[in-house]
């Protein structure tokens, strides 16, 4: 059971090894990666930032809740911070369990909770050079100072609630 915020590329195979144990019959590795497009716009990269202390606390809580709810100590999550390019992994979740149904459910629980409550933010870079904070709730996101081409009314970024 472990959670970490990391500045270096994530190692999915390492996390898979970390949760492996002879009592387990199933392991699930979930990898979230930067997509080349979002909401119809071509994306070239993403900056991930966090309220690090609180994000760590929330991630620790989530893996603890998953371990209790699904009765396995083999739950590990790592979230990357910094600037990522398309295809790079932003989050890896590894779960192992004696039974596969619980492994799937625990993995799903961790990613859904992470997206709901961990204070991490992302700013997408677009092909036109602009950058915008992503707001999965769909309300207006205002352009950052680097984003001079837009008015302060910005544009609605409905983002993805489902990536």
């Amino acid at each position: 059971m472990r959670a970490a915020l990391v500045d270096a590329p994530l190692d999915a195979a390492g996390l898979l090894a970390e949760v492996s144990a002879p009592a387990n019959g199933a392991a699930i590795v979930f990898v979230g990666t930067v997509r080349e497009s979002n909401d119809g716009r071509a994306v070239t990269g993403i900056d991930y930032t966090a309220y690090a202390a609180m994000a760590q606390r929330e991630l620790d809580a989530i893996v603890g809740e998953a371990a209790t709810a699904y009765d396995t100590p083999h739950v590990v999550v790592e979230h990357r911070l910094g600037t990522l390019t398309v295809g790079e992994a932003s989050v890896v979740i590894a779960v192992a369990h004696p039974r596969r149904a619980a492994a799937f459910d625990a993995s799903r629980f961790v990613i859904e909770q992470l997206k709901k409550r961990v204070p991490i933010w992302k700013r997408e870079h677009y092909v036109d050079g602009s950058r915008e904070w992503v707001d999965p709730t769909g309300v207006l996101v205002h352009p950052s100072p680097a984003d001079q081409g837009h008015t302060s009314a910005g544009r609605a970024t409905t983002a993805e609630a489902q990536r």
């Binding site: 994000a55 979230h79 989050v91 992470l114 997206k115 204070p119 991490i120 999965p136």
Partner: protein, 80 residues
């Protein structure tokens, strides 16, 4: 009493800083602190009722603050 206010992501861009100190009357709540922040330049780009954490935990608007508390205004999260 003084409390620290942490700002992140779009809220930090809006107010042009990641951290500030505000002075509040004793007995003030999270909602009081948020109303104070709303008077600052650029705060028109922060919603009137943002998510707030106090000392790294999500907090309700009516929660009372203590001197030295660390308040954080939390933009919509987008991890994963």
């Amino acid at each position: 009493m003084n409390v620290t206010v942490l700002l992140f992501a779009s809220y930090a861009d809006a107010l042009g800083t990641t951290e500030l100190e505000i002075a509040l009357p004793a007995g003030s709540t999270v909602a009081d602190a948020v109303r104070r922040v709303a008077t600052l330049p650029g705060a028109d780009r922060v919603p009137p009722k943002p998510l707030v954490a106090v000392n790294e935990r999500y907090a309700a608007p009516e929660q009372r603050l203590a001197p030295g508390d660390q308040l954080a205004l939390i933009p919509p999260v987008a991890g994963g």
